[in-house]
């Protein structure tokens, strides 16, 4: 037998590698918390998120926010007298895994009263048909406008801005600077595509030329995509990515010595950019931040709800999360349960369908409003949903562009500081 003929013996193995390679993307390990059936005495809130993957840091922040809300709500007797219990499932940001875990829970009679259906638009989109079928109330922080469909998903509400709602400040900025052409580089997933579509529509409506380039989530370098964009000569560039792609974008930008202004969208802006890049790479880079979470901003100073939230988050061991991810992301978990509790108090009920209807006609809250994100007097937006809009109403005045920064010990954004 010739020396190389061993390879023949390995051909089935090579074929198996191909199969394993394709299957690897759907292999996941369930990290679901063992859960008993939701009893009538407790109000079960299920969180579906990525506890072990690349987006685990965001999960930690959202879960911390939920725990703070649970602490505060249970201290006042729970939701309509029912103590809130948090259950979790580790979907690893994988829609297939998320659906499988939730179906398992439902078939074993463990229907939650409400849930946070995923840390990304992809996962939420996969879970919503199940929520609708089972009349489970869902609130989370996705940004794809395809999810804002009350007719199709009557029990689902968003508690952070749609991509398109964060766009107007960029248009104002571009107009103020006299830019005629705007470019965008984004990750080619549901969130990135939704973000790009929002920017494209807004800029074109404003008479500004819009060009874009996208990269797959397997990219280890985005230089070719930036070269493609650079060749079209935009006056400013918006970038969108989740975690390490944000670094690849700015690193590639430095490599090709491209110095036009780069603006992070909310997704990229939430990432701690300055901890991972030298100052020389951050010249002319801006992030969009939400005023109520900027240190020293009048919208954040003296907010008693925010102060209590931060104190409780620290008492629950959340200091590191506040430092790394900030109070803004943490607040979306908090807001979800606070909104449910507010609706339950108004409806005097904890029934999912009833609460969904109530959320569409919430009574105006007195200042300071019980939730975070849009100012104590709702001056930057509100959660007053309607039967046609299940996402917050957000005003452009709530956003500000600043240099990349870090978070202080309260989780508030401090621009222009690195570590």
């Amino acid at each position: 037998m010739p020396v190389r003929s061993w390879v023949r013996l390995r051909r089935p193995a090579v074929a198996l590698v191909a199969v394993v390679s394709l299957l690897l993307g759907v292999v996941a390990v369930s990290g679901a918390t063992p859960a008993g059936a939701a009893s009538k005495g407790t109000y079960t809130f299920l969180y579906s998120g990525d506890f072990t993957g690349a987006t685990m840091a965001y999960t930690q922040a959202e879960v911390l926010g939920l725990k703070v809300a649970i602490k505060q709500i249970n201290a006042k007797g729970g939701i309509q007298g029912r103590k809130v219990v948090l259950e979790t499932q580790n979907d690893q940001n994988n829609p297939t895994t998320a659906v499988s875990l939730l179906e398992q829970k439902l078939t074993s009679g463990q229907k939650p009263d409400a849930m946070y259906p995923g840390g990304s638009s992809e996962v939420t989109q996969a879970l919503l048909p199940i929520l609708t079928r089972n009349k489970i109330l869902g609130i989370d922080a996705t940004s794809s406008d395809t999810l804002n469909n009350p007719k199709k998903y009557p029990y689902y509400f968003g508690d952070s801005e749609l991509s398109e709602q964060t766009v107007p400040p960029y248009v104002v900025e571009a107009k103020a600077k006299g830019y005629k052409k705007v470019g965008m580089i984004y990750g080619n997933d549901v969130s990135g595509q939704a973000s790009m579509q929002g920017f494209k529509t807004a800029f074109q409506k404003a008479g500004i030329t819009f060009v874009s380039a996208s990269f797959p989530d397997t990219a280890v370098d985005v230089t070719p995509q930036l070269e493609q964009l650079k060749a079209q000569n935009p006056d400013m560039v918006i970038f969108s990515g989740y975690g390490v792609p944000t670094l690849y974008i700015l690193k590639s930008r430095a490599q090709i010595s491209w110095d036009v202004p780069f603006y992070a969208d909310l997704l990229s802006g939430a990432f701690p950019i300055v901890q991972n890049l030298p100052a020389s790479s951050l010249h002319n880079v801006f992030v969009e931040t939400s005023k109520p979470f900027v240190a020293g901003n009048p919208a954040a100073v003296g907010n008693p709800v925010l102060n209590k939230f931060v104190a409780d988050a620290k008492s629950l061991g959340g200091q590191q999360v506040l430092n790394n991810i900030g109070a803004g992301v943490t607040a979306v978990g908090y807001n979800a349960l606070v909104l449910i509790n507010y609706a339950a108090n108004q409806a005097k009920s904890t029934d999912g369908a009833t609460l969904a209807k109530t959320l569409e006609s919430l009574k105006k809250a007195n200042a300071p409003v019980p939730w975070l994100s849009y100012g104590t007097k709702s001056q930057f937006g509100n959660f007053y949903y309607t039967s046609k809009n299940h996402y917050p109403n957000v005003f452009p005045s709530g956003f500000i562009f600043q240099g990349p920064g870090t978070y202080n010990s309260d989780g508030l954004f401090v621009p222009g500081t690195g570590s």
Partner: protein, 288 residues
């Protein structure tokens, strides 16, 4: 030209993974799916040594190389060796996938999900070269991967160890009967693959960052590299890896994100259909 440099730098990563696959494949006939995760682990150890311990470059490289080599040997002893006598040759592939998943989990548990910056061994100021720009460390990566790939090719063809490895991979029992220490060769192959993966931690990590998704992102393209180049051929791994990187970069330059993977995998399928053993894989004699 900048896009070409970018493709070569990415291709060097894919080739590096392919070279690691082939080292173990040639010596023991095992496809070590965890090799890309060993490279990822090398980037984290580079971060640990250079940033956490604040060590200079040489100790950083040595620590990474030694530690990953030890982990690769442990993988061989615990996840591969116990299955080597079995008729089911696919069992080792499954356990190596298990090791890959375990390594992903371990780095997440220790270092968390946020990427870590690995200091570049050379200046980060881009070089202007042949009409394009490239970071000096990326250029170093390309050169080092070529040197390692060619060196291993020569080693496997011109030395007794290399020839013994080929004999062992071809027929383990016959090689043992001829006095070849197949166990030592297998351990040596895992150790060498780990040593290279760990030593490259600094040059790889300074470009990609130490991040938990790196192993998965590299594994598939490393496999494509050896499937194109020819499994068992180190030169084939180099050519397959660089070809994959260049094609991917050039398609990315002129199309949207949907196309690069489609084009690369179309090429992959075309080669599997027309030359199932890859561009540099040898012909197989049929027993009649």
């Amino acid at each position: 030209m900048t896009t070409l440099w970018s493709g070569l730098a990415d291709g060097a990563l894919y080739a590096l993974v392919g070279v690691g696959y082939n080292i173990v494949l040639l010596a023991s006939g095992v496809f070590n799916f965890a090799n890309a995760q060993l490279i990822m682990l090398g980037t984290y150890l580079a971060y640990f040594a250079a940033v956490t311990l604040k060590l200079p470059l040489v100790p950083t490289v040595l620590i990474g190389a030694a530690a990953v080599a030890l982990i690769a040997v442990a993988e061989e002893r615990l996840a591969i060796r116990p299955l080597m006598g079995r008729r089911d040759s696919h069992a080792t592939l499954i356990t190596s996938v298990g090791v890959a998943v375990a390594l992903d989990g371990i780095v997440l548990r220790i270092w968390g999900s946020q990427p870590k910056s690995v200091p570049a061994p050379l200046s980060s100021k881009p070089l202007n070269l042949l009409g394009g720009t490239i970071e000096p460390t990326a250029l170093l990566l390309i050169v080092l991967v070529i040197v390692v790939g060619v060196g291993l090719h020569i080693l496997s063809k011109k030395t007794m160890i290399g020839l013994g490895s080929l004999a062992s991979a071809e027929d383990r029992e016959a090689a043992m009967a001829r006095g070849v220490n197949v166990r030592a060769l297998a351990i040596g192959a895992f150790a060498l693959a780990g040593l290279i993966a760990g030593a490259f931690g600094v040059v790889v990590g300074s470009g990609t960052y130490a991040n938990p998704g790196l192993g998965d992102n590299l594994a598939l393209f490393g496999f494509v590299a050896i499937a194109i180049g020819g499994s068992g051929s180190q030169i084939g791994s180099l050519i397959g890896g660089f070809a994959t990187g260049i094609i991917y970069a050039e398609v990315s330059r002129y199309t949207n994100a949907d196309w690069p993977q489609i084009v690369v995998f179309a090429l992959f399928l075309l080669i599997l259909l027309t030359r199932p053993r890859g561009l540099f894989g040898g012909a197989v004699e049929r027993q009649v």
